[in-house]
Amino acid sequence: MSVSEKFDHQPAANRLRSAFLSQEVVLLVILIAGVLILSTRTSVFLTVDNILNQGRLMTEVALVALPMTFIIVTGGIDLSVGSIFGLSAIVLGYSWQNLGLPLEIAIIIALVVGAICGLINGLFIVRVGVPPLIMTLATLALYRGLAEGISQARSARGFPEWFYVLGQGNFLGVPTQLWVFVIAAIIFGIVLARTTFGRTLYAMGNNELGARFSGLPVDRVKLIIYTLSGLLSAIAGYIFVSRVSTTRSDMGSGLELEVIAAVVLGGTSIFGGSGSIAGTVIGVVLIQLLKNGLSLAGAKNDATIVVIGVVLIFSILVNNFIQHRRGTAD
């Protein structure tokens, strides 16, 4: 598929670092400008309450965007994240309400199911050689189908009080799930920028065959990142259920769009080989800001997905343009 087209312009690897550093700076400037504009237009925006609440709302997308950055850096993609999100939410509710398991066990089962879903993606991609786009498109249907089949349009509700702490509670005055995200983002950021594992991801994205011949454990790394993607989608699903107090089989549909848009907006090249967690975090925040701004300006919720679509295409155009310029400047 065209995602893996490798004969397009690929800028030199050593130039990339400065390339996405500048992309982050540009994004940061846009972000600050956005905050300033919004805060002058409505008094609600720049309140601590609103900002913390936005942090709460963006956590699910943000968490899934972390492993998605890893995957896109390697030149892969995972379209099944929204379905894994929904499936693990349903599994959580089903094992607790219908199987009568303790809620703690149900949560663990949901997370394990998410990780297994990701692992299955990884196994087929690595062992059979199915392109990631196709594999995760198939499991996008399969996992959502399992969620629909298991739930039979029933939903679980009435969880005990402690269950809502993660999704609705605060810790040290900050939404609980935001702590989870901050810790996860720091870990993912360090791993990508400062470890052999992270360097391997870039190497795979720039030249997979080369990485393989250099003795890098390409297959194992792929298994790990797709499993991580499943696991974090499940964690995000759990947080979402805790936040909205119920489960439904259509939860998380369209999540992949928002996640991929955030990652690409954050400067990660869709062709692989470049990107950073800092960029992704700014991308996620920017999109949340956009949604918040639109809703404060009175736009309907659905208008935001139009804007996200435009942002997605536009940011790739800009990205391509920058890379082309750098490519020809050398």
């Binding site: 065209s2 050689g129 199915v130 499991t139 249907a141 399969l142 089949g149």
Partner: protein, 333 residues
């Protein structure tokens, strides 16, 4: 990208039994036809009401609009691309079809033809971004999906269109006693299959999907082929939307959920290789009918229809696996 379309197993050293077995295996259309037949016989034996004329007609007709859209999708996939905005495009074009019929003074024929133009326009935009700006089709159409889907909800708020004119129901006509969607499905499939097999442009789609570099070196204008493929895909989406819009007495102005997946499933299960370069639209049409037959069977053998999507996912996986294993077989010879 792998390019194996031009590799054929060597004639020597394979027993005739194995050879004939493989040639049957190699024809996805045959497998689908046999599966379809077996399904009808088995489910018909379990519950004879499945074979009632009304149900059989529904099996043939119910997915006709998906089969029509899958024709265009198959061309897109053969060319090595994908279009996941097609479900949203059909939703938008179906709404367009209904609005032209109810809110303008134009003759009803315009409500059937203008969505085709609209589809071509959407396809041209997708194609332009993919062919000329070199953005991967998955990303372009993901963006297009959200623009169309969100735009439709914002514009119409999910409102249903009523008061359609009496002569509006194109999909309710039955020329020669056969529902018109079935006519559309069969005629368009045959025409598209012939075009893809025998026209220069049709062949060049396979060339572009099979091996881009070789196609370029043999003088094919890749950009223009990809552009054409997306425009044609848009037109088929338009026809599909008109069939979808005119089948009932009202049109719900929402994007049918999961429609793009059903269409892609039909193409992939129909044998269009997602790796690009192979597949026919006859396969995708058979697959669309098979999917409907499976959905219908589930009702007759008391399986909850909520499992349908999971079955779709499994079918895609099996087909993709078979495709990859078959390619390995071919390469080994």
């Amino acid at each position: 990208m792998t390019a194996v379309t031009t590799e054929y197993p060597s004639k020597a050293k394979s027993s005739s039994l194995w050879k004939s077995l493989r040639s049957i295996l190699a024809s996805q259309e045959a497998i689908l036809a046999i599966t379809l037949l077996a399904l009808v016989v088995l489910v018909g034996a379990a519950n004879p009401r499945f074979l009632a004329e009304r149900n059989m007609s529904d099996v043939l007709q119910g997915n006709a609009y998906i089969a029509v859209a899958a024709i265009g999708m198959s061309m897109v996939i053969v060319s090595g691309n994908i279009d996941i905005s097609i479900g949203s495009a059909i939703g938008v074009l179906a709404t367009m079809c209904g609005l032209i019929a109810t809110e303008t003074e134009l003759p009803v024929i315009f409500s059937w033809l203008l969505p085709l133009l609209g589809g071509a326009l959407i396809g041209a935009i997708n194609g332009f971004f993919v062919a000329y700006l070199r953005i991967p089709s998955i990303v372009v159409t993901l963006g297009m999906l959200s623009i169309l889907k969100g735009g439709l909800i914002v514009y119409r708020g999910g409102e249903t269109i009523y008061n359609l004119p009496p002569d509006f129901g194109l999909a309710q006509l039955r020329p020669l006693g056969i529902p018109s969607p079935v006519w559309f499905m069969i005629v368009l499939t045959v025409l598209a299959a012939l075009w893809m097999r025998y026209s220069a442009t049709g062949r060049s789609i396979y060339a572009v999907g099979g091996n881009k570099e070789a196609a370029m070196l043999s003088g094919i204008n890749i950009r223009s082929v990809i552009m054409k493929v997306f425009i044609i895909n848009g037109v088929f989406a338009g026809i599909s939307a008109v069939l979808y819009a005119t089948q009932f007495t009202s049109i719900q102005a929402v994007v049918p959920p999961g429609l793009e997946l059903s269409i892609i499933t039909a193409s992939v299960v129909g044998g269009v290789s997602i790796l690009g370069g192979t597949g026919t639209v006859i396969g995708s049409t058979l697959a669309a009918v098979l999917l409907r037959a499976i959905g219908s069977s589930m009702v007759f053998i008391n399986v909850s229809p909520y499992w349908l999507r999971a079955v779709q996912g499994v079918l895609i996986l099996i087909t993709v696996l078979a495709d990859i294993l078959r390619r390995r077989q071919l390469r080994r010879h």
